[in-house]
Structures are given as C-alpha cells and as structure tokens.
C-alpha cells in the first residue's frame, strides 16, 4: 500500500466515523426536506395580500378554508380514486403479464426489453401521445370505440366529466403497468423451484399453487412495488396537466394539480396548505405501510 501517503486527509476522514461521509447528504436533505417542510407550514398560516404586496399572518384561516372547500374535497376524491384504481389495475394486470412472460424460452427476453421502454418516456410526453390518440375529432381511441359501439357518435373522452379521469388513468396504466410486470417477473424468477415441483407432484391445481405458494413467497416484492407505485400515483400531476388541466370544470383536479393551480393564482398560502395536506397524508400512509407490510431496505 505505497500509494497510501498520497491520500493524506484530516484525521476525521480517516477515522471510522460515518459523519463526514454523510455530511453532504445530510446538508442536501436538510435543504430539500426539512427547510421546505417548515417553510410550507409557515406558508400555510399566511396568505399573500395583493394590496399590501406581502404575506400576512392569517392563523388557521387556510386550514378552515381547506375543509370547507368543495373543490378540495373533489380533488381529494379524485386523488384517492386515481391512486387506488390505478394501483389495483396495474397490480392485477402486471401479475397476469408477469406470469405469462416468466419464461426462459427464446423471445421472452425481447418482450421484457420492449416492456421497459414505456418507463423512460417523460410523463408529460406520454400525456401528449395520448392527447392526440384521445382527441375528440381525429383521435384513434374514440374512433375505435365508436366503430365498435362503445362510445356514442357525439361523445368525447377528455371533455366528458365521467370519462375524462379514465382518459387520464389509461395513460398511467399504459406507462406503469410494465413497472409492475418487470418487478414481479424479477420476483418470480428468484423463487426456488422445489416447492413448486413438489406441489405439482402432489397434484395441486395451478390456481392453488398461485394462491398458496407464489403469492406468499412474493409478499415482499409485491409490497415494495405497491409502495413505490402508490407514492408516485398519489404525487402524479404531469398527466392531468397535459391532458385535461383539471377539466372539464374541476372533474380531474388532483390534490397536486389543485395546489399548483392555487399557487399560480397567487394564493400562495392556500396552495401550500393543500400541498402540505397531501404531503402529510402520504408520509403517514407510506410509513404505516412500510411498518405493517414489514418492508425492509
């Protein structure tokens, strides 16, 4: 170890203390997580008053307004619906596709590669792709649905209060079902083969094997996939921004979009209150999930 001399560092760097190694990270996380968090709390008790051109302390006004605001309750409902429905569809669909393509046969490697492609598309651009495909006049999807009779001749997708959210959710399902597939395939491939072989010898039915063996053994992998996907579904804003901007009316406002929209209307305090609410919900639910599903890093 003759090179060692050239790395003459302060003693704190050569000791076994982990602090100097972590210091840059801690600094960044304080700036990223702690300061914005407390600044957000501060903002939620203030509101910008245009006449005074300043943030004025308003006490609990923003929070009272939040719980009496119908648009807020609507956007909370949309966020919850979006998160849970997409999560369930992506998990079920993802599991089905994973079971289908979990194979060593030639060709399945290429299929898995093709499925990775959707993951790297910027979500805003994925939204654009579906914006043209769902266009009321020359979109491919309404045209196909109309020609098989599932959509009335005069109906639209993104301008219809009940269908618009599905028009947004289909993008998420398209882009992120492969996320579930790839994780579940990796989980399936890491399972030992002996229990399955002995179950087959014992004459177990495929569905029984899936329920009694595959699912319990995949528990950890499923929990991680659900956690990460759930977080990202809850935070989603790109798709609604691009596809509907929250419309028609306020039918597709999510919490994040509503918060951003208040912010652009210079209701800085109220916008911060909505985003803080969304943040607190995901911190509680996310950490509870990690605790109860016993997810370990």
């Amino acid at each position: 170890m003759t090179n060692q001399k050239s790395y003459s560092l302060p003693s704190i760097m050569t000791s076994d203390s982990s602090l100097p190694w972590l210091l840059p990270l801690i600094t960044m996380l304080v700036v990223f997580a702690i300061i914005p968090f407390f600044y957000n709390i501060y903002l939620s008790f203030h509101e910008f008053v245009p006449l005074k051109r300043a943030l004025i302390f308003v006490g609990w006004d923003n929070w009272i307004k939040l719980f009496t605001d119908e648009i807020f309750w609507g956007s909370l409902k949309v966020s919850l619906y979006y998160t849970f429905v997409c999560l369930i569809i992506q998990l079920v669909l993802g599991m089905g596709i994973a079971l289908l393509i979990d194979s060593d046969d030639p060709g399945f490697g290429v299929i898995r590669s093709i499925l990775t492609l959707t993951l790297v598309i910027p979500p805003a651009i994925a939204g654009m792709i579906f914006l043209i495909m769902e266009d009321a006049n020359y979109g491919l999807i309404p045209w196909a649905l109309k020609s098989i009779g599932l959509l009335g001749q005069e109906d639209t997708i993104l301008a219809d209060p009940t269908l618009a959210l599905w028009g947004v959710m289909i993008v998420d399902i398209w882009q992120w079902t492969p996320f579930m597939v790839l994780i579940l395939v990796a989980g399936l491939r890491s399972l030992p083969s002996e229990p399955f072989e002995s179950a087959m010898i014992d004459g177990a039915k495929p569905f029984q094997i899936f329920r009694r063996l595959t699912l319990p053994m995949l528990h950890k992998v499923i929990a991680v996939a659900v956690l990460i996907r759930g977080i990202d579904l809850w935070r989603m804003v790109d798709y609604v921004f691009v596809l509907t901007s929250g419309g028609p009316g306020t039918a597709t406002y999510t919490l994040s979009l509503y918060s951003w929209q208040r912010f652009t209307f210079v209701q800085w305090g109220y916008g911060a209150t909505i985003s803080l609410f969304s943040l607190i919900v995901i911190l509680i639910v996310g950490n509870a999930f990690i605790h109860f599903a016993k997810v370990k890093w």
């Binding site: 090179n3 840059p24 990223f32 990775t116 959707t118 910027p122 651009i125 790839l182 916008g271």
Partner: protein, 288 residues
C-alpha cells in the same frame, strides 16, 4: 399453458404496449393530412422530415419565412437551446447526486452508525414528498437566494429529488461487495478513504453506472420542478413540449419530433442497464 399460445400472447402484450410509441414516431414523420386521417394511417403515409428540420435547426435557414402563415400557432419551433438545457441539467444533477450518494452509501453500508434504520427511513420519507409540496417553498427560497430560473437551481433540485434513489441503490450495490476486502486492506494499514476510492468504487462501477443512468433519466423526464422554478431562462424538453399546444392549434408533428428525439436516447440508455433495472426501480430492495 401451451408454449406457442404463451409466445403469441406475450408478443401481443408487447405489441399493445409498444403501439403508442410507434404511433408517436409515425406522427413525427407524417404530413398534416395523414396525422388527422381516420381510419389512422399506420403504414401507408408519406414520409416527411420537415418537423425535425424545424425543431432542430434547419428551419432557421430554410423555412422560417413561410412558417408564420402556414403553421398553427405561428411560433418559433426551434428547440435546440432546450435540448442543450435538458442535457446540462440532466448531466449536472446526475453528477451531483452521484458524488453525494456514493460517499453516503459507503458509510451506510460499512461504517457503524447509531439510528441507521431511522436515518434510512428518513431518506425513504423524502422520496414520498409530492414535488408540488417541495416546489412551492423552494420557489420562495430560490427567489431570495437568486437561484430562480437558473440551471444551477434546477440541477440542485433534481439532484435532491434523485438522492433517495441514488443513496439506497448504491448502498445495495456496496452491500453486495464482501466486507472482507475492506477489512483486509485496513489491516494492511490502508486508510478508509483509500479503501473506498481505490478498492470499493472500482468494484461497484457497474452499479454506479446503472444508478447514474437512472438519475439521468429521472432528471430528463422531470416536469413539475422545471415548470414551477423557471420562468424564461430555461425550459427542459418535457416542459417545452407543452408549448406546441397553442390557442390556434397544436403542432403535432413538431411535438412528436421533439418527443421522439427525447425518448430514443433514453431507450438506448435503459437497455444498456437493463440488468440492474428492477433493482433500480425498487430503490435497491429487489435484486434480479
């Protein structure tokens, strides 16, 4: 299930997921009349690279004269500066995130630390924060310290956004390297930093590359921070692509040309690190 049936179903699924990408690429090389054709023209259309020329610069010299009257919106479709902005930000934020995360991940993997589980939990919690909840306070902080609307400001926020991923993922790669290597070298009198820099980092180089690629892609595709923390100084591709939607119409072919140019490099990158992709997507907790 029959092997042939499985193959057919598998390819059918792959085709469904690939179809929107294919359709988007065809929009970028179609002429307007074919873009709006119903039933859609998937194969039998005239090819034109005019949209690429307009977006990536040739229109500066060739088409700019008659663009205003002909194209919807009539704006300037030249997007080269935004491509450069995107590259600067993605490279800068990836470098910053990797520098911070490999140091921290080594310590989390090797060195004794009180409350390590809590610290990891804290890192994971920052991964949960909705971007809007960070961007609103950051808007005011950046205004005060002059980072608003600058490359450096976005580089920092994207690096911060990627830190939970980079730290947890790098820790899992360092955990794969036997600790005996460190201990043997330390017994020989090598310093911690020497062990880290000369022995462990070279051994983890594949993992470092995979982590860097994922950081690059997440910065490349990020939308809401750039939307809220920039005004006129810079715009990355995801944000600027929304500017093709104007009150007088949408320049679909230009938008698709820009979008296609933005996703093809990402496709190549992701296929290069496919071996580590699942580990990356699960922040290091599911190994392939």
């Amino acid at each position: 299930m029959n092997k042939v049936v499985k193959q057919i179903l598998g390819w059918f699924v792959a085709a469904i997921f690939f179809f929107p990408i294919y359709f988007w690429i065809t929009v970028s090389i179609k002429k307007d009349k074919d873009i709006f054709a119903l039933p859609p023209k998937l194969f039998n259309f005239d090819i034109s690279f005019q949209a690429y020329e307009e977006v990536f610069g040739l229109s500066r010299f060739l088409y700019v004269e008659d663009m205003g009257a002909v194209r919807p919106g009539g704006g300037d479709f030249y997007m080269m500066p935004n491509l450069v902005d995107s590259i600067i930000i993605a490279l800068g934020s990836t470098g910053l995130a990797m520098l911070i995360s490999i140091l921290a991940a080594y310590a989390l993997s090797r060195l004794p630390m009180r409350g390590q589980q809590h610290f990891m939990g804290w890192i994971l919690s920052t991964r949960m924060m909705p971007p809007v909840a960070v961007a609103i306070p950051m808007f005011f902080i950046y205004k005060n310290i002059g980072l608003m609307d600058t490359h450096l400001g976005i580089i920092i926020i994207h690096a911060l956004m990627n830190l939970p991923l980079a730290v947890l993922l790098m820790k899992s790669f360092f955990d794969d390297i036997p600790k005996d290597i460190d201990e043997a070298a330390l017994l020989d009198g090598a310093s911690r930093f020497f062990v880290f820099w000369r022995l462990i980092v070279p051994l983890a180089i594949g993992g470092i590359a995979a982590t860097a690629v994922l950081c690059f892609i997440f910065s490349w595709t990020e939308f809401i921070f750039v939307l809220m923390l920039t005004q006129t100084g810079l715009k990355t591709i995801p944000v600027v692509s929304t500017s093709f939607v104007t009150s007088t119409g949408t320049a679909w072919d230009n938008m698709a040309a820009l979008g296609t140019a933005a996703i093809i490099p990402a496709f190549i990158f992701i296929l290069l690190v496919q071996r580590h992709l699942v580990r990356g997507l699960t922040l290091g907790s599911v190994k392939q």
